[in-house]
């Protein structure tokens, strides 16, 4: 049985009885047992429930009962998305034993279509990081080379899909957290338009910029998942009440006659030579498909990392105030405490990156600095949006490499947070402006490390965005993972 099939292929084979869902899920669980000791993508594996659900779905298939469109597809969920009955730890000591009393809307939508939640996957603590090294449970490794980071913060999602430990995953993207691991693990990852997917049940970090996003092996799979998880949710008032769109239909429309803007600021300083050359190749391949590519300058991008980290830290410091050890946290017994000591004793269990961002957030919001940092960051955000609005008057899509550099070794940059922040230069623009962006696996470096290309479209143009992503995907011929 081939675990390397796509999610869409799995559905068609389960539907016509070529494969048994139970057998596929059991094989997937065996695979997790075999490879996850070294990759460490999973925090929790829900073995028994997954097998029981698979058996029940096989029964339904045999008796020709109505079945959801996922047909028992094994899916992993980033561990900052709530799942009733399975721990949601946010990769933090703070929530080590937290079990949410409800499912996030994205999870209940997947379940209602008979997807099987096979487990919860690793992330940087509270999704703050871009390497998955800042997890209380230890780092996740890149399945393409175990010495390297898988990207992050949804590193467990990217690695679990790449290592064939599930067919698809849901991550969350606050500053590139879906696209970075997608790029570094050679899988597809979509950051949708702000408001396309419900955030109900996603543990809050920076509410004004974060979105849940699907990660899968192919663009078709991402479109398939988007059909299920997108749409208005009465539990999340920031979701748009748009007409339902079928993202799978017309996916193969191509890019002929479309205009693509190459963002100058994302292919300049500091970009790895092999990434730059892959970007040139991607552009010429899109031109060969009939697209017209022009240079577009977005000078606000130069300020995007500073603006992004100011806003994200500010929102993080207020969001994480809720971990006061009253509603979540540790059992300190019943002896007497001074209130503040009780709270700060518990909160000293936050990891170093979360603590750093809370300190920064408190600083940029404090009297005297609010105008200098936070307000200016918000103005940069408006500036970026205005420049993008102008750009999308001229072009249908924008393109850049997803990450300006190749994956690097575990531990290499962990002591230099600013260096890590700067690797987000190409991804934060989509979060600050709310527009959608997708990372498509494009090529491999000479050392065998994945390189992903990023395509952007205007707000709520995911259908067109995925059409371009599909066209780009079809120009590639990438190796299979040998793990």
């Amino acid at each position: 049985m081939n675990l390397g099939i796509s999610a869409v292929e799995f559905v068609s084979q389960a539907k016509d009885g070529t494969i048994s869902v139970e057998e596929f899920v059991a094989k997937t669980l065996d695979r997790i047992k075999k490879v996850d000791e070294i990759i460490h993508a999973f925090i929790t594996v829900d073995t028994q429930n997954a097998l029981d659900k698979a058996k029940a779905i096989d029964k339904k298939i045999k008796s020709k009962e109505k079945i959801g469109s996922c047909f028992g597809m094994p899916v992993s969920i980033k561990d900052n998305i709530c799942t009733a009955g399975i721990k949601t730890t946010c990769a933090s000591k703070m929530l080590e034993n937290f079990v949410a009393p409800y499912d996030a809307t994205v999870v209940s939508r997947l379940k209602s279509e008979d997807a099987i939640i096979i487990g919860k996957v690793n992330l940087d603590e509270f999704a703050m990081g871009s390497t998955t090294e800042f997890s209380y449970f230890g780092p996740t490794r890149n399945p393409w080379n175990l010495e390297y980071i898988p990207g992050g913060s949804s590193g467990g999602s990217g690695a679990s899909v790449a290592a064939l430990e599930c067919l698809a995953s849901l991550g969350s993207d606050t500053g590139g957290s879906v696209r970075s691991p997608a790029s570094f693990c050679s899988v597809v990852g979509l950051k949708p338009t702000y408001g396309l997917i419900s955030r109900y049940g996603l543990v809050s970090y920076a509410n004004s910029i974060e979105q849940v996003g699907p990660i899968a092996k192919t663009v078709e799979d991402v479109a398939f998942l988007l059909n299920i998880v997108s749409g208005h949710d009465p539990h999340d008032n920031t979701t748009a009440n748009n007409e339902h769109i079928d993202y799978v239909k017309d996916l193969k429309s191509g890019v002929s006659g479309k205009k693509i803007g190459i963002i100058s600021q994302m292919i300049e300083d500091g970009i790895d030579k092999e990434v730059a050359s892959a970007t040139d190749t991607a552009i010429s391949k899109l031109q060969n498909l009939g697209a017209e590519c022009i240079q577009i300058s977005l000078d606000a991008v130069e300020h995007s990392v500073a603006a992004y980290y100011t806003i994200a830290a500010a929102e993080a410091s207020s969001n994480l105030a809720r971990y006061d050890n009253l509603r979540y946290g540790f059992d300190f017994g019943t002896e007497g405490y001074e209130f503040k000591a009780f709270v700060s004793k518990a909160r000293s269990n936050f990891g170093p990156e979360v603590t750093r961002r809370m300190l920064l957030g408190a600083f940029v919001l404090s009297a005297g600095y609010y105008g200098k940092y936070y307000l200016k960051a918000q103005k940069v955000r408006a500036m970026i949006k205005a420049q993008l609005d102008e750009a999308f008057k001229k072009v249908d899509y924008l393109i850049s490499p997803t990450m300006p550099i190749l994956p690097f070794k575990v531990g290499e940059k962990i002591d230099d947070p600013l260096k890590l922040y700067l690797t987000d230069i190409n991804t934060v623009t989509a979060n600050l402006s709310g527009i959608p962006a997708v990372s498509v696996p494009f090529s491999m470096s000479s050392s065998g490390l994945p390189i992903g290309m990023q395509l952007f479209a205007n707000s709520f143009k995911e259908k067109e965005l995925l059409q371009a992503a599909y066209a780009l995907q079809e120009t590639t011929n990438l190796p299979e993972i040998s793990l």
Binding site: V99, N241, E338, F339, F342, A382, P417
Partner: protein, 88 residues
């Protein structure tokens, strides 16, 4: 220049016992220095990005009782009383 007492004050604001405040001084300072580039941006407008959300979609204001699953999350003693630490 970020000083130890500033970091300790920030730790106080975010209610965290900083075991090693020194660890954060250099890094926070380095990051804030980078944020200082926001001073150099030439703004042609005072606009900030705002998203308008209608309040039509709010759910009805009706009482929804707590389910057992929520009550189950509370710490209890052997007599099934809710247990909380004593505050002094």
């Amino acid at each position: 220049m970020v000083e130890r007492k500033e970091i300790e004050h920030l730790g106080d604001l975010v209610k965290v016992d900083l075991n090693e405040p020194e660890k954060y001084i250099k890094q926070v300072e380095q990051i804030l220095n980078y944020f200082d580039r926001l001073d150099k941006v030439e703004f042609h407008s005072d606009d900030t990005l705002r998203t308008q959300i209608t309040t039509d979609g709010l759910r009805d204001d009706v009482h929804e009782p707590y389910g057992d699953s929520l009550i189950g999350h509370l710490k209890k003693d052997q007599n099934n009383f809710i247990r909380a630490p004593k505050m002094v």
